[in-house]
Subunit: 408 residues, 2 copies
DNA sequence: GCCTGTTTGTTGCACGGTACCACAAACATT
DNA sequence: AATGTTTGTGGTACCGTGCAACAAACAGGC
């Protein structure tokens, strides 16, 4: 908190570095950790022992793989050493998962919902129903370090307040508070926008691993972006950064649900696709699937709607690329599914409009985590406090003779 | 460099924190530093002594200001303890300054240039001419820690390569290398885009002090933004982030110097203003001044050109605000001068298009550093290595009996 | 099967840096 | 002049990492 550093700071940072490494990059040998951190062998050994005592990592005898020298034991994140509950609230479905350290999905349930958008209370009831059984698994309650929620609509980062979710018909939802009361557990509840969390997931475990500057552009029903710059998520003063669906691209265009007009979302959103293909704009996933199948089959009407969308996608993306200079753009949600169909018009607009004399043009790829990207991002966000300060969130158990354990 | 921390890390961080504090926030008493850092009195004392021994700070007897207790000595940044050379290359002028620690402008020369844009060689010759005398001041050469350069056009952050500067007619300029060879000193030369550096300056010493999320939007001849998010400058993968002048706002609009068409710059740049007012688009500062005076005097033609620009300014800005959720937007360069004239149409577009149900709307203000913002930002950027690691850049002098000093 | 060389975990000690405590200095108040 | 408050100073303790020597565990060659 305070800028001053002392010996606690350094211990915390080093434990954090090592835990984060094994959590994100998978099992590492101790000597790998020495190389990565630059710390002394003895120090790494001590740090690993402390993490193991706290139940966060486990060591396995290192396999000898043909090279000379004493084999280095591999350090694994302990999936049951710390767990989080991840919730992803999309317009047409709801997903709840239990995720263990190391990113292991221990349990996962998804409910799709056709027809009219659900009420907030319905969604919360479903969430409780789906999450309760996961939390009742033995050992989970004691090892739960947080709950992460991905929500549609602008989310205030400070307190997880969802201002409105036009495509669900909700407004003024104190989401973090509601979820916290729902489960009534003494762990932090973090709510973020689905695109922000999708970006985090693709950055840490998806198509953007190793990429420190990326844009995750996603379409659920509305359009939003999650942005990572310099390895850090873009948040903004209040948490509303990335609402690029409401950037004007047609200054005197059609009016938008947000109150403005000519927003990008009005030409690239789900409703724009359906309308362009001559379908019911509120037809939902079934209609979208139909349009996609028809376009893939080569039907002229749906095809031209998809291509028009691709062109507008390229126009808007070009602006974002000029603004952020990303290394990679990840297309998620509907855009991820459209990606193979729209590359041609999209790339044409990008080539014409991206101010890049550079020989190293931006790569546009489809999401590698698919619909689960926001869910995984919510889990990662919920793990963040533990990763930043393992000691604070995983107390050292009191060890009795014989190995029995009890929390202090 | 390596993620691991040790006792050197902590010493470096604490020295850095204290030096940065007195550099940016002005003289502080020792007890202020204790409060800010959270460190112990004895530790702060030791740190201050080390910085003083390295000539970076000076202590003055604390004035007793009516409160009980022993007065705390004030710690000042030593302006001659470390200096940088700052260069700002604009289209119509060139500024060179010698800046001392604490942000003291020790010397400053500006040359305006009317008529045809200067060649690169002319600008470099002028820079050398203006900078040489500053560097010959006694003690400067030994205390110079870097050279910072603000340049128009996209700048590759890695090596300070300026891809092109259409409004100067330059292209493919290895600017950092050229400046380094020019002065032939053994200090780092850092080149950045003028808007990026303007943003840094306004963030650290201007209209954005204490604001961690801001957009500095500036117009020299072209339009560019410097963005600070979460207290950090937005750089991008290669350093080209913030080129918002080439975001399409009129998808089928006029062609732009960048090769694309409908760019924002084509409706809000200097040329757009002059063209809208019926003047020579390449008329330069004299014509711009004439238009501004005429508009302020109430002349209908210039006035309506200014108002139209204001409207487009608002349309584009709304998109940036939705994208970044800044707390403050600082208008620099031409936009800073236009600010009082365009608030009405600009605010109208912002109000209509910014997706803000929030009670805390973004503040749009004029630059408080004016034309010198990029210059000051260049100086701050050049100080950065020293501030991040004072020990590395300011060796402890060898102290002889009696207080005479000599560098190792 | 033994010896050698290599890589790596382990252990005890040194070093660097900050925290803490007691004391002194410098102020205001009464 | 006495008292209380705030702050710098000096010595010691504590904590964490670095280092060096040793032991453990492997491959390869004879």
């Amino acid at each position: 908190m305070t800028p001053g550093s002392n010996s606690e700071t350094i211990r915390r940072d080093n434990l954090s570095t090592i835990l984060r490494e094994v959590h994100l990059s998978g099992p590492r040998s101790r000597s790998d950790l020495v190389a990565v951190t630059g710390l002394n062998r003895s120090t790494v050994g001590d740090l690993v022992i402390e993490l193991a005592e706290r139940g966060l990592v486990r060591e396995q005898r290192g396999d000898s793989l043909g090279s000379p020298g004493r084999p280095s034991p591999t350090v694994h994140a302990a999936p049951e050493g710390a767990v989080v509950l991840a919730v992803s609230i999309a317009v047409h479905w709801l997903t709840v998962a239990l995720v263990g350290l190391g990113g292991h999905m221990l349990d996962r349930v998804r409910r799709d919902r056709a027809g009219a958008p659900p009420t907030l209370d319905q969604v919360l009831a479903d969430t409780l129903d789906m999450g309760r059984s996961m939390l009742q698994r033995p050992g989970v309650r004691d090892r739960l370090v947080g709950i992460g929620v991905a929500a549609v609509g602008p989310v205030r980062s400070q307190d997880g307040y969802v201002h409105f979710a036009p495509n669900l018909g909700w407004s003024a939802v104190p989401m973090a508070e509601r979820i916290a009361r729902l489960f009534d557990l003494d762990v932090p509840v973090v709510v973020r926008n689905e695109a922000d969390l999708g970006a985090r997931a693709e950055h840490l475990r998806g198509a953007g691993v190793g990429v420190d500057d990326l844009i995750y552009l996603s379409c659920d029903v509305g359009v939003g972006a999650g942005i990572v710059t310099g390895g850090r998520p873009l948040v903004g003063a209040r948490g509303y950064a990335g609402e690029v669906g409401h950037v004007a691209v047609v200054p005197d265009g059609a009016s938008c649900g947000c109150g403005s007009h000519g927003c990008w979302e009005t030409v690239v959103g789900e409703r724009a696709l359906l309308r362009g293909a001559g379908r019911d704009p509120d037809g939902g996933p079934r209609e979208v699937d139909a349009v996609l199948r028809a376009a893939e089959a080569g039907e002229l009407g749906p095809m031209s709607a998809v291509l028009a969308l691709g062109r507008w996608l390229g126009i808007g993306l070009a602006g974002l690329v000029n603004t952020f200079d990303p290394q990679v753009v990840v297309l998620g949600g509907l855009f991820g599914r459209l990606a193979p169909l729209v590359h041609e018009p999209m790339d044409a607009e990008l080539a014409a409009r991206v101010m890049s004399v550079s020989r190293d043009p931006v790569r546009v790829v489809a999401s590698s985590l698919g619909d689960d990207a926001p869910l995984m991002g919510a889990a990662e966000r919920a793990f963040e406090p533990l990763l930043a300060d393992p000691v604070r969130w995983a107390p050292r158990p009191f060890v009795l003779r014989g190995g029995a354990m009890a929390n202090a």
